[in-house]
Symmetry: C2
Subunit: 357 residues, 2 copies
């Protein structure tokens, strides 16, 4: 049985299953701990609930960098002070297919929860609709949002800028953020098809790890101040720039993300977002665009056959031993739900609990 | 002065400007020649006009593989017989944000011309709208369609599957087509921001050229039948598969394109399209999805400022010596329009003119 007391973990019953240096927590315990820390630092109950939900989902899916670890950075953003701790998102109807939510400089999750309800109402009437989230602090992965929409039977696409760290193809100076793009497709009787990736070659944190350990970078991750390929982490981070994945094609996609999730929706580009942060290292503040498509409007009366077409596509991928994008994450989810607990590194848990002091 | 008589070209006045082995034709002459050949092979006047327009645009922009050269493959598709030569596209209104056009097994261009008018009407009312084109033969680039929409002040995104030649990341057998994705953003007083690229690492024709010349392929273009990297063009084309750009990220994007321009709109995946072709080598038959977004619905009352934000983004790319995706094409366009003519290889012109015999 997992621990029922956070402060005095009792691992005896499951000692064999829990990795050394880790503590088992139920998903409820993860949620409660995240919630307690965030409210302790002044975040409103509604925001803390919404954030604790995505942090718990991250731990459940063993996406550790988006799990309990994020309580630390989220608290840092709260301490930094610019984020509105009790912001109430303001919905504005912009047209039959467009809803915008002004997050009022709060975290993005609550704004998404409020806005996605209206997005779903709209897409049920129009067939395609878009949600713009403005003025939010954003730190989470996009897949929790994609999954929240896809479980209502729609396909969904989401994009955000971040902080300008990534040079365009052929350039040397940062323009783009790590600019994630995520997409989901509903499947009957199976986990949805979901991808969520940064359009940078790798995460910035990955390059930080190379710097700390003094290793040289793989080629294609970054350039120096002159735009020449660099395998030195410090050069890439401090003088040059990161690169996008996929050369000029990735660079073009990243530009599209800047435009659709920035100027289109009246919000900041990654360069503007980095300037606003002004070295504080808080969660980036910017906008987000989410597009939903209702397959029932697009299918010419053969909805079931069309769904089967998609299933054949997935089978032709998995049937040859290739993986679908979220396969590992869904396997972790099954494992966590079957076990009834997740495993948090002791040191991380200590750091998080200290934030309650 | 460019030639005014196709059959007896007079190059005297511009001999110095025309490359050896090339013939100068005005854009009107390109259009007329394409139109004559296509109607000569039984294509209806409406279809021939629509196709001649995109072929002329291809030559004008020096995208030679989408210019006069396509008259050859288009005629081959007409001779193959499956394409409906006088198909009349049928528009169906699927909802406030969705219009579908059944191309009735004709070429895609006329269906796009018909459908894009409705798409624009819809997006003006809803803020975001989608056009699905079904049952069309498709051979052209997507940028002419993107530009046709963007000149009305909307942002646009288009995707199509093709023929299954490309393996998923981690696989060995073809599942995806070269699956192009194209995007456009309107700019006041400047050519629009437009990209249009295949999600395969390279075009299949490029690998064919390597086979013909006996050169080894660069790494990352293809795999052998076991999924191991291959630099042998014949192995990749005949036994293994091509690869997407950008590894698993490109593979995920290509999957999204299959889903949105295939099963979502009730049309074929690249694998189904290749099966239908059954070795004929005609233009692929499949569907297409086009999404348009009207910035006026998304902007929170600061439309001009938001546009300027996008311009700053472009400046930060070009200002450091990096190129915007269509920059070369737009330079070619200016050149062609200033010259008043384009240059067609004599051998190609001969091949095309022979199709009139």
């Amino acid at each position: 049985m997992p621990n029922s007391n956070l402060n005095q973990p009792d691992q005896s019953a499951q000692a064999s299953a829990v990795k050394p240096g880790h503590i088992a927590l139920t998903l409820d315990e993860v949620h409660q701990l995240a919630y307690r820390v965030l409210t302790h630092h002044g975040l409103s109950a509604e925001h803390a609930q919404a954030i604790a939900r995505v942090i718990t989902a991250g731990e459940r899916d063993e996406c550790h960098s988006h799990g309990m670890y994020r309580v630390l950075s989220c608290t840092r953003t709260l301490q930094h002070g610019a984020v509105a701790r009790d912001a109430i998102p303001v919905v504005s109807d912009r047209g039959p297919g467009v809803v915008a939510v002004d997050a009022q400089f709060g975290f993005s999750q609550l704004a998404f929860e409020v806005g996605s309800k209206v997005l779903l109402e709209k897409v049920r009437k129009t067939g395609i609709a878009a949600l713009a989230i403005n003025n939010c602090y954003h730190f989470s992965a996009l897949w929790p949002e994609i999954e929240a929409l896809v479980e209502h039977g729609v396909a969904a696409l989401a994009m955000t800028p971040s902080h300008a760290w990534v040079a365009p193809a052929g350039g040397s100076r940062p323009v783009f953020g790590t600019n994630p793009i995520a997409f989901g497709w509903p499947r009957a009787g199976a986990q949805p098809y979901v991808f969520d990736f940064a359009t940078s070659a790798v995460a910035r944190g990955e390059i930080e790890l190379y710097r700390r350990s003094g290793r040289t970078l793989p080629k294609g991750w970054g350039v120096d101040a002159k735009g020449s390929p660099s395998i030195d982490a410090a050069t890439v981070l401090d003088q040059g720039a990161m690169l996008t994945f996929g050369g000029y094609k990735g660079s073009a996609l990243s530009t599209m993300i800047e435009l659709l999730a920035g100027p289109l929706i009246g919000d900041m580009t990654s360069a503007e977002s980095l300037r606003i942060d002004d070295g504080a290292g808080a969660s980036p503040r910017h906008g987000e665009i989410v597009i939903a498509l209702d397959p029932r409007f697009f299918s010419a009366g053969n909805f079931i056959e069309d769904r089967q077409r998609a299933e054949k596509l997935f089978e032709s991928i998995t049937g040859q031993g290739a993986r679908l994008p979220s396969q590992r994450r869904f396997a972790a989810r099954s494992r966590s739900l079957a076990n009834g607990y997740v495993q948090i590194p002791e040191a991380l848990l200590r750091d998080v609990q200290q934030l309650l002091g």
